[in-house]
């Protein structure tokens, strides 16, 4: 909202200290985004007359212009524009002029010839966007005077303020003046409650058919109007506030809206069918052409303003109809000021995609009792250009029972104000803070104040709203600062991360220690992403996605990770090792209130095979205490059929380990193998890992020996491990698979597995006989599994 300082000062004497007013507005909750100086003139720019122009043979882009600035002296200027003729009056920036863009005009020579100034475009002087040529001033403009004086320019200071939803009143200058005035201790001009009428009775009658959508509709009839242009000061203020002046009637209408936050509409009474209004809901499919020229299709939820003959002339509270504009010949108008139901206005605006100055205000909230004051203001302003203006007796004021009450008393406890704010304010202090902004204290008994909420603050409905107003006008910066200490002493100072949060951090450190980089990949996927990743296509869909087609919530991080790998590979980043810890959202069977969302871990190791993923999984088993069954008979979808396994606990799948399917790798246009590990952290981090218990280390020497077996590919190494451990018993203190070999000397369909065994007893040095006994037991046990000892 653009607030013009001179306008504010018309309403309350707030002064002209721009910086301090801006700071005060911000402290009151009206954040000043920018202070603009509109219509200010550039010192040193004077009007001059063009004498003649001449091209220079060696300068194609500029021409030479001779001007005269009232002193009879011929001045030469280089100019890049060609739109002027001899005798045109143009603005000349004389040498030394500081332009608004920071340039200082200097006699800059071109081809050795000095330029004694610069001719200015409209944009260079801050007079608009026109930069196509030099600004040509009206014929008859005096020469040799400051251009601002010649044009009658007057500077206006404008605050561009960012208004919050709870301050609809500040969409009018009067609301800002009231708040700022209260802060500064100066009063805002009083409002009138009745418009002064004197003319013969004349009424624009109103029929409220669907009054719950339009709880109040007022009209007065004004005659003696001569449509013309507005006084300069009204045009200037409207322009400064960002509106285009049109004619005196429309300008006054806009002026009243910008001053009082009271949208209104003046209809030509002579062309208003039946000379009155009918307010009703549209019928489904009914159409109206609005002021902006568009034809709008309406629904039965949109409100129409019709003339008395039921012909639509506007969409209630949103925009007038194309035919409702007043014309040059208008002499009698019906001034309509109405109140519309907030939420319905929003629905219509959204449905039609139509936001107007009026609808934006009705959506935020307008004073349902501000009509008489707005009518009087309209009359007073219009009278400046229409001295014969007559206000007719017979004002119409149609109301519906849904109109909010004019007086809305709430009880405000002094103790509650102080309880929330941490203050020690008494009733008179509170009263003095809120009375100037219209929160009128009508009674005070002990702790309880009865406060009448102002009709222009529809956002205020309860005690807590008044508490906020007290805080605002007391000053947030005066509330003090204290760190709370709990009433329950065992709570204070007990900040900590939960066990799950600590374990998540530990997990991240393990992964980082293994050289993995952390990524955060896309939440939203396209159906083709899921297909490419070899995942089931069933996913939760976003019904209003940001990007059409990317509307699925990821049921797995796999597609996102593969895209990240592909991206890096295409930028010479091969062999990347990535992990992500994040939520995934499988759809489940949609029987629960919320989807079975869980936190997952995904690891992708480009250029590595499944064993790298298994090695990492084993490391997590050791460091994090994770545990799950590695089931290679159950291949997760989209993974390499002979190099992948499902990780499960009981019947629940808690992860996948192995390698990405070659087809999936192709689909993402990656050339490297990708080792993959995926875990359900919501499951795995929930378990408190067992605390490792101390085991004594033996003081007696150990004996190492190696055994290599030829084992069929169909027999998992895990089985051989298990058999060796069982046979080795308590004496086998360490077992390591140190080599797996396929090739010469080993039959096809099998491989050689080489193990190192370490035997040790707690209480003695082992004899050769004992060692030999364990060795033969181990051989016997593995032979049962079909393993053949290599000798």
């Amino acid at each position: 909202m653009k607030i013009v300082l001179s306008w504010l000062n018309n309403l309350a004497p707030v002064g002209d200290d721009v910086e301090s007013i801006a700071a005060d507005l911000t402290q009151l909750g009206m954040q000043v985004e920018e202070v603009l100086h509109v219509g200010s003139t550039v010192a040193g720019v004077i009007t001059a007359r063009v004498l003649r122009t001449e091209r220079h043979p060696d300068a194609a882009k500029v021409q030479r212009v001779w001007v005269e600035a009232g002193d009879g002296v011929e001045r030469h200027v280089w100019c890049g524009a060609f739109n002027m003729q001899p005798d045109d009056i143009i603005p000349l920036a004389t040498p030394g002029t500081a332009m608004p863009d920071g340039r200082v005009i200097e006699p800059r020579p071109i081809l050795g010839i000095d330029s004694q100034g610069m001719l200015c475009s409209a944009r260079e002087l801050g007079l608009g966007d026109d930069h196509a040529g030099i600004l040509i001033l009206p014929v008859g403009t005096p020469v040799g005077v400051p251009y601002g004086e010649a044009l009658g320019l007057q500077a206006e200071t404008v605050f561009d303020i960012d208004l919050t939803r709870n301050r609809p009143d500040c969409w009018g200058h009067r609301g800002v003046a009231r708040d700022l005035g209260a802060h500064l201790g100066v009063a805002v001009t009083p409002a009138v409650t009745d418009v002064a009428a004197g003319g013969e009775p004349r009424t624009a009658a109103v029929e409220l058919v669907d009054g719950e959508r339009c709880p109040r509709f007022t009209t007065i009839v004004l005659s003696g109007i001569r449509v013309g242009s507005s006084p300069e000061w009204i045009r200037r203020r409207l322009t400064a506030a960002g509106m285009r002046p049109i004619n005196n009637v429309v300008d006054v209408s806009n002026y009243v809206m910008l001053e009082l936050n009271q949208p209104n509409h003046a209809y030509d009474l002579d062309t208003l069918g039946g000379g009155g209004f009918r307010v009703r809901l549209a019928s489904e499919g009914e159409q109206i052409a609005t002021l902006d020229g568009a034809v709008r299709d309406l629904t039965a939820d949109d409100l129409l303003i019709c003339d008395a003959n039921d012909v639509p002339i506007g969409i209630g509270g949103v925009m007038g109809g194309l035919d409702s504009e007043i014309s040059e010949s208008t002499t009698v108008v019906a001034l309509e000021i109405a109140h519309f139901e907030q939420t319905a206005i929003t629905r219509t605006m959204n449905r039609l995609g139509l936001r107007s100055e009026a609808s934006g205000r009705f959506e935020r909230g307008v004073d349902p009792y501000g009509m008489p004051n707005a009518q009087q203001r309209f009359v007073d302003l219009l009278r400046e250009t229409c001295p014969d203006l007559v206000v007719h007796v017979g004002a119409a004021d149609a109301r519906h029972e849904s109109l909010p009450p004019e007086h809305r008393p709430v009880s405000v406890r002094v103790s509650q104000v102080n309880r929330i704010l941490g203050t020690d304010l008494d009733a008179p202090t509170i009263t003095a803070l809120i009375d100037p902004i219209g929160y009128v204290v009508t009674a005070s008994h002990d702790d309880v104040l009865t406060v009448n909420l102002p009709s222009w603050r529809p956002d205020s409905t309860a005690e807590i709203d008044v508490v906020e107003e007290v805080a605002r006008h007391y000053g947030y910066d005066k509330l003090g600062k204290a760190v709370p200490t709990s009433t329950e002493p065992d709570v204070t100072g007990h900040g900590r991360l939960s066990p799950v949060q600590l374990r998540r951090r530990a997990l991240r450190q393990v992964l980082l220690g293994h050289g993995l980089d952390e990524v955060i990949t896309d939440t939203f996927l396209s159906p083709s992403d899921l297909v490419a990743a070899g995942l089931p296509a069933d996913a939760i869909r976003v019904t209003n996605p940001l990007v059409v087609g990317e509307d699925l919530l990821r049921p797995s991080m796999r597609a996102g990770m593969l895209k990240a790998i592909a991206f890096n590979e295409s930028h010479r980043g091969t062999g990347v090792a990535l992990f992500e810890i994040g939520h995934v959202y499988p759809p489940g069977d949609r029987s629960t209130e919320l989807p079975p969302e869980y936190e997952g871990l995904a690891v992708a190791l480009a250029g590595q095979d499944a064993t790298a993923a298994m090695t990492l999984w084993r490391e997590l088993v050791n460091t994090m205490g994770f545990g799950a069954r590695v089931d290679q008979s159950l291949v997760p979808s989209g993974m390499h059929p002979t190099r992948s396994a499902t990780l499960s606990i009981g019947r629940d799948v808690v992860g996948a380990v192995g390698e990405i399917h070659p087809d999936v790798i192709d689909a993402f246009e990656v050339t490297e193998r990708i080792a993959w590990l995926e875990l359900d952290l919501s499951r795995l981090l929930a378990n408190e890992p067992k605390i490792t218990q101390w085991k004594a280390t033996s003081r007696y020497p150990s004996t190492d020996f190696d055994l290599a077996f030829v084992v069929a590919d169909t027999t998992p190494a895990e089985k051989i491990d298990k058999a060796i451990r069982q046979a080795g018993g308590a004496l086998l203190v360490d077992l390591a698979l140190f080599d797996s070999y396929r090739g010469a000397g080993v039959p096809d369909g099998s491989r050689s597995l080489a193990y190192r065994l370490r035997l040790q007893a707690m209480d003695r040095t082992l004899t050769d006989a004992e060692t030999a006994e364990v060795r033969s037991k181990v051989i016997a046990a593995t032979t049962k599994l079909g393993a053949v000892l290599r000798t």
Partner: protein, 332 residues
């Protein structure tokens, strides 16, 4: 015989001096001083000599043995030192010539900021709560004093899902739903922060992402006032940014708090950072959390996490932080 001793001694010393390796020295030791060596032989021969001679020659033999032994020890030490020196010289490495590198992982910038913030709040006595990212309309809006027709809802640019036909399941637009869940699950006093991923229907640009991270705080206790809010914001400011920083509150509007405020951080150079929103928990929100606003009061605050990282490291464009480009990730 005394000449034989002298001769054997000279010969022994000469051989020691001539030895060029430890191995040679060991054989010299055995040959010169061993049982079959010349000095041992002379000792044996001495048995048949007269007493006088035995005394003087015996003494000479012992002196010869001691001298050779001393020469041997000295030579051995010298040879050892020479060998060590040669080995050390041969082992020279150019430590600036490092092939390959130890690969370390890099945590995401958002994670780094997230953890730093958690740590500061834990230090201020807060615990950390989390909640679902796919939420119900009730927790995301209704319980936060934004009933269905509330116009402020439009400001959140919400993404809705088809999880249920009625469109009530959405992607949370803030971590505030966790506040309601915490109030419902935990009896006050509550001193919690809630970091997490949130979603808005915003077109990505240098300062906005449709998926981003936010942290909120919630304190509910008896006698919590707005001064406690200001004090906590200030304590956080100093703990997170540094003692030269301070904070201020100025009025703002949020449906879920009243009075509401924006909080700004003042840098030591006097410039301001607009950080986030805060306020006293609205009585309707306390009620939605199952708490009696006449007994309990509280405050809440919230701000963006990614922005902290962006400003700390001078990242121009937020989109780069989520590009998953290792050339970005491995810078930090």
């Amino acid at each position: 015989m005394i000449d034989d001793v002298r001769q054997a001694r000279e010969a022994g010393l000469a051989r020691v001096a001539a030895a060029t390796s430890s191995d040679e020295l060991r054989s010299v030791d055995a040959e010169v001083l061993g049982k079959k060596g010349p000095l041992s032989g002379l000792k044996t021969r001495l048995g048949g000599s007269p007493v006088e001679e035995r005394k003087t020659v015996g003494q000479a033999i012992n002196e010869a043995i001691t001298a050779v032994q001393a020469a041997l020890d000295a030579r051995s030490a010298a040879l050892g030192a020479e060998q060590t020196a040669a080995r050390i010289a041969a082992e020279r490495l150019d430590l600036t010539e490092v092939v390959g590198r130890q690969r370390r992982g890099h945590p995401h910038l958002s994670t780094q900021a997230w953890e730093r913030l958690e740590d500061v709040f834990v230090g201020l006595g807060f615990q950390v709560a989390e909640g679902p990212e796919v939420e119900t309309d009730f927790y995301n809006f209704e319980a936060l004093n934004m009933p269905r027709s509330h116009p402020a809802r439009s400001g959140f640019d919400t993404l809705f899902t088809d999880y249920h036909d009625d469109g009530t399941v959405l992607l949370r637009t803030h971590t505030s739903p966790v506040q309601i869940r915490v109030m419902q699950q935990i009896a006050p006093p509550i001193y919690m922060v809630m970091p997490g991923k949130v979603f808005r229907r915003d077109t990505p640009d240098a300062t906005h992402m449709p998926v981003f991270h936010q942290i909120e705080g919630l304190v509910v206790d008896r006698n919590i006032t707005m001064a406690h809010l200001a004090g906590t914001i200030d304590a956080f400011t100093k703990a997170f940014f540094g003692s030269g920083f301070s904070s201020r509150l100025r009025p703002n509007y949020f449906p879920f708090t009243e009075p509401s405020a924006e909080f700004d951080i003042r840098r030591p150079d006097g410039t301001w950072i607009e950080l986030g929103g805060c306020g006293m928990v609205h009585p309707n929100v306390l009620r939605a959390g199952g708490l009696d606003p006449e007994v309990w009061s509280g405050f809440a605050f919230g701000f963006g996490i990614d922005r902290m990282a962006r400003e700390r490291h001078g990242v121009d464009d937020l989109r780069d932080m989520f590009s998953n480009d290792i050339r970005f990730i491995e810078q930090f």
